[in-house]
């Protein structure tokens, strides 16, 4: 069924004028989102969206336009707009589309008919089951901000005058809930989710239990005293840290002088315990993909090995500029030109048991959630400061809950201060996989 999208992309490419490079990206998505509350459906949204993005490159200049429609006339106008926009870009000797590189895309089982054909009533039933499981998990659960089932079927095709031609589709579905627990005047919150390619992979009871545990164990939390501690990051928190770190590893940031890791390839930049890969070919990752945003094969790239920086990720443009080859890391939707980004980061090689990691800490904090990563972390300077909540660790055991504090360091130091890497790989709805991570010498700011 994705063939019709490739046919549209082909038609756009066929309209290329002599001397002109043209790239067309065509996408279509079907999404369902069901929210339940008090045993009833609160909202049910079902929708189809589509769009085309057209990039034109001529004589070292690039123009772009998009339209949220597959209508032939609208697409023709979009090509004309993109062409008209070319004249206003500055000449760039590295401008141009991705050239086919002969690397075969991995074969990943990302599309499941079982997701595409899952009946609406069954979706509602799953969401209601999640809500029931939340209240059954703990008597202190007093309310739900949300309980939802959502799925998406997305299809994408890309064709270019350079000879790239690719089409694919994938499904995903998830359950997510955000709950409130109360005791006396104290209210605390927790979230839980379950993600999969098809509904049979979803587990409402685990999502409900996670949310209830996260909320109830925070009951009675107070602000901790300030100090320097070893913190153990929950896999969810580690994944968010990796996503920020990814910005220092993209070839575009490196070449434009926005990464503190530029010029450090071959050097020890992190604890020898750290090996970081970007691996969108791991089908278990939520963001796994067979091709990147320019239609080149996705691949496994080693970025840091045993603490030594190995290299950066690139799209066609940043690679050309760096004098290397694309690593298959073009990131884009149909509304933008390809940027460079990590697709599925993962800390590999860690074997520590999370319980043992906590047992090894005399005086520290288990951080179960952070807030304000967008406002207090600067990947250019490396300054790191986020709001946090979690549990104190005393003499190797989890102790009282703490909230309304920040954890702060710099990304440069945190990479070196890693003292243990967990083997508890947790696949999350984002571009990084979580593991428990112990980091020494982090400033906790509270009372």
């Amino acid at each position: 069924m994705t063939d019709d999208l490739l046919a549209i992309a082909d038609r756009v490419v066929a309209m290329a004028a002599p001397g002109e490079q043209v790239e067309a990206v065509v996408v279509r998505g079907t999404e369902t989102e069901i929210r339940v509350h008090s045993g009833d459906v609160e909202s049910l949204s079902s929708a189809q969206s589509q769009g085309v993005g057209v990039r034109v490159v001529r004589d070292g200049r690039q123009g772009f336009a998009y339209v949220g429609s597959l209508d032939a006339d609208a697409i023709a106008q979009t090509l004309a707009e993109a062409r008209d926009n070319v004249a206003f870009a500055t000449f760039d000797e590295f401008a141009g589309l991705a050239e086919p590189d002969g690397v075969a895309p991995p074969v990943l089982d990302l599309h499941r008919d079982a997701c595409a054909t899952f009946a609406p009533d069954d979706k509602v039933a799953l969401a209601l089951e999640l809500e029931r499981a939340v209240f059954a998990a703990d008597g202190r659960i007093t309310g739900l901000e949300s309980a939802e089932y959502a799925d998406s079927l997305s299809e994408a095709a890309i064709a270019t005058t350079a000879g790239v031609r690719s089409a694919g589709r994938e499904t995903s579905c998830w359950l997510a809930t955000y709950v409130m627990a109360a005791e006396g005047d104290d209210t605390q919150t927790g979230f839980g989710f379950s993600v999969g390619r098809e509904p049979s992979e979803l587990d409402p009871s685990t999502a409900a239990r996670d949310a209830a545990d996260r909320a109830t164990r925070m009951l009675g939390a107070t602000q901790p005293a300030s100090g320097r501690f070893t913190v153990v990051l929950d896999p969810w928190v580690t994944a968010q840290l990796l996503a920020v770190l990814g910005h220092t590893l993209d070839g575009d940031s490196v070449q434009k002088g926005r990464s503190f890791l530029a010029d450090r390839v071959g050097e020890h930049v992190a604890s020898a315990l750290l090996t970081l890969v970007d691996d969108p070919t791991d089908a278990r990752a939520f963001t796994a993909t067979d091709v990147d945003g320019e239609g080149l094969a996705a691949r496994r790239n080693e970025l840091i090995v045993d603490g030594v920086l190995r290299g950066f990720v690139h799209n066609a443009h940043s690679a050309r500029r760096a004098g290397t080859a694309s690593t298959g890391n073009a990131v884009r939707g149909f509304r933008s030109t390809p940027s460079v980004g990590c697709l599925a980061l993962s800390l590999v090689g860690g074997t520590s048991d999370p319980a043992a990691m906590i047992a090894a800490v005399d005086d520290g904090v288990l951080v179960q959630d952070v807030a304000g990563l967008h406002s207090g972390v600067n990947p250019v300077s490396g300054d790191f400061s986020t709001g946090a909540e979690g549990l104190r660790i005393r003499n190797g055991a989890l102790a009282e809950p703490v909230r309304e504090f920040t954890i702060a360091s710099t990304l440069q130091r945190m990479l070196r201060d890693v003292v243990a890497v967990g083997g508890d790989h947790t696949y999350l709805p984002m571009n990084a996989t979580g593991v428990s991570l112990a980091v020494a010498d982090v400033t906790v700011s509270g009372r």
Binding site: H37, S38, D40, E42, S43, L44, S45, S46, A47, Q48, S49, G51, Q62, G63, F64, A65, Y66, V67, G68, S69, T78, N85, F88, A89, T90, F91, T142, G143, E145, S146, M180, T187, Q188, T189, Q223, S226, K256, G257, R258, R335, A371, G372, H374, S375, G376, V380, S381, D383, S385, T386, G387, R403, E404, F405, T406, A408, T443, S445, G446, R447
Partner: protein, 463 residues
């Protein structure tokens, strides 16, 4: 955009399965943007999105479907899908008669961005690059972006409402990297208003670019921010996000109704220091969060949320207001036709007090002066919130001294509101913001006078 007779038919179809309320929200959005980075205009982008979202409400259930096909058959198909999603046992024939409403706009744009030559937009970018680099050799990288959108919206619903509006917004931002022996630091400035290309008559781009560059250079000399609690003075205009997070989200009626707000059941009670008056005002002409009508067709309003420290009201959308049997407050907004509306802020601000801003600083023996805040985040159920400081200084012996590196501050909304112990007479609106909630982003404005919070937790690394 769509014939009245077609809208009436579509609403009738939407109500066919027994719906109590149906609505068509249609949108035609054109945008243009241009980005400069590393000394080059990378590309100019033109975009168009057009479609309609249809919702049907039955009891407590909302069904929603959207389509990019604005033809009669496309709309009927979406209405059928929305009605099926919200199905009830009922059914029957529904006749909807629409009356076209008058939308009162408080501002008409001067210069439609679509009429401005593309070359003129690109010139702004290269000018900003040149000005920022001219501030000093320490400036090692500059990026700049220009964006404009023209959005035509139409709302028709089964209460007979039919309104249309045209919304034009124009935006510009400059980001700089400065490099020194302490590493790299960044500085950013942005402007955005619900106006056309006259934005560039309201502001001097040269000045904007220089300020962004200067902020990055200043921070090269910054020392690590302190950790622990101390008084915090927030600069005029730069810190409205504090109220957006400390109380704004917690006063959204949808969160209140679910018990997910620390401000539930607090109307009529003291929630802030005397003198603190917080307003959400969609009618503020030209501001980034300005709307003539909300995305449910209700006129924008000026709503006083907290008056002299007493909680007066929450913000409402149609769904929540209908349940409570009251009028909506003009706060039903959505990111696009592909999204359901919900309760959102517009321009949220704290009214000026009477204190002299300089004396607020001089009467603070030791503390932090935050001239410019970044974004923030709040947990409305607990009230805990964070916000980032992108330009901040130490206050020592009543004087502003050394610059501080970036970090977050953390506090609890209800506690922080009660700890405001000084309010300046120098109110100003801040830079444009995008507020995120449930994955939807909408443009919002904020503003504050200089003010002091007697104690906040600073998320730095220094003792």
């Amino acid at each position: 955009m769509i014939d009245q007779s077609v809208l009436e038919e579509v609403l009738g179809v939407a109500l066919r399965t027994g719906g109590e309320f149906a609505e068509v929200y249609a949108e035609d959005r054109r945008s243009s943007s241009a980005g400069l980075d590393d000394g080059r205009v990378e590309e100019l982008t033109s975009g168009r999105d057009r479609g309609a979202g249809i919702r049907v409400v039955v009891g407590d259930t909302t069904g929603f479907a959207h389509t990019a096909d604005l033809s009669e058959s496309g709309l009927v198909a979406a209405a059928t899908a929305a009605a099926a999603a919200a199905r009830s046992g009922g059914g029957g024939t529904n006749v909807v008669a629409l009356t076209r409403g008058v939308v009162e706009r408080s501002y008409e744009i001067d210069i439609a961005p679509g009429d401005v030559p593309k070359a003129r937009k690109v010139e702004l970018l290269t000018r900003a690059d040149e000005m920022a680099r001219g501030v000093g050799d320490a400036i090692t990288q500059v990026s700049a972006s220009y964006g404009d959108t023209r959005k035509h919206i139409l709302v028709a619903n089964s209460d007979g409402v039919l309104v249309e509006d045209d919304i034009v917004r124009t935006f510009f931002a400059v980001s700089c990297v400065a490099t020194g022996d302490t590493g790299m630091q960044t500085g950013r400035e942005s402007i955005g208003h619900t106006v056309g290309f006259e934005l560039f008559d309201m502001y001097d781009i040269d000045d904007l670019a220089r300020r962004a560059a200067q902020r990055a250079i200043t921070k090269l000399a910054a020392r690590p921010a302190p950790s622990g609690q101390m008084p915090v003075v927030i600069g005029s205009g730069g810190g409205g996000v504090l109220f957006h997070e400390a109380c704004g989200h917690g006063l959204e009626a949808d969160l209140v109704a679910k018990g997910a707000s620390v401000f539930r059941d607090r109307v009529g009670q003291r929630v802030a220091s005397p003198g603190v008056t917080v307003v959400d005002d969609g009618t503020m002409a030209r501001e980034w969060g300005h709307i003539a009508i909300d995305d449910e067709g209700n006129p924008a309003q000026r709503n006083v949320l907290i008056e002299d420290g007493i909680l007066t009201d929450y913000m409402w959308d149609r769904l929540r207001a209908r349940k409570e049997g009251r009028a909506p407050s003009g706060n039903g907004r959505r990111q696009s036709y592909q999204h359901l509306p919900m309760v959102r802020m517009t321009n949220t601000y704290l009214l000026a007090g009477t204190d002299d801003p300089d004396s607020i600083i001089s009467s603070t023996p030791k503390g932090v002066y935050v001239k410019h805040l970044g974004g923030g985040q709040v947990n409305t159920a607990t009230g805990d919130f964070v916000f980032g400081m992108t330009e901040a200084y130490m206050i020592e012996d009543g004087r502003i001294t050394e610059p501080l590196r970036e970090g977050n501050l953390i506090g609890n909304g209800p506690e922080v509101l009660q700890r405001i112990d000084a309010l300046g007479d120098d109110f100003a609106m801040g830079p444009p913001g995008t507020c995120g909630k449930d994955g939807q982003g909408v443009p919002v404005g904020d503003g504050v006078p200089t003010l002091r919070v007697s104690s906040l937790t600073i998320g730095g690394t220094a003792a």
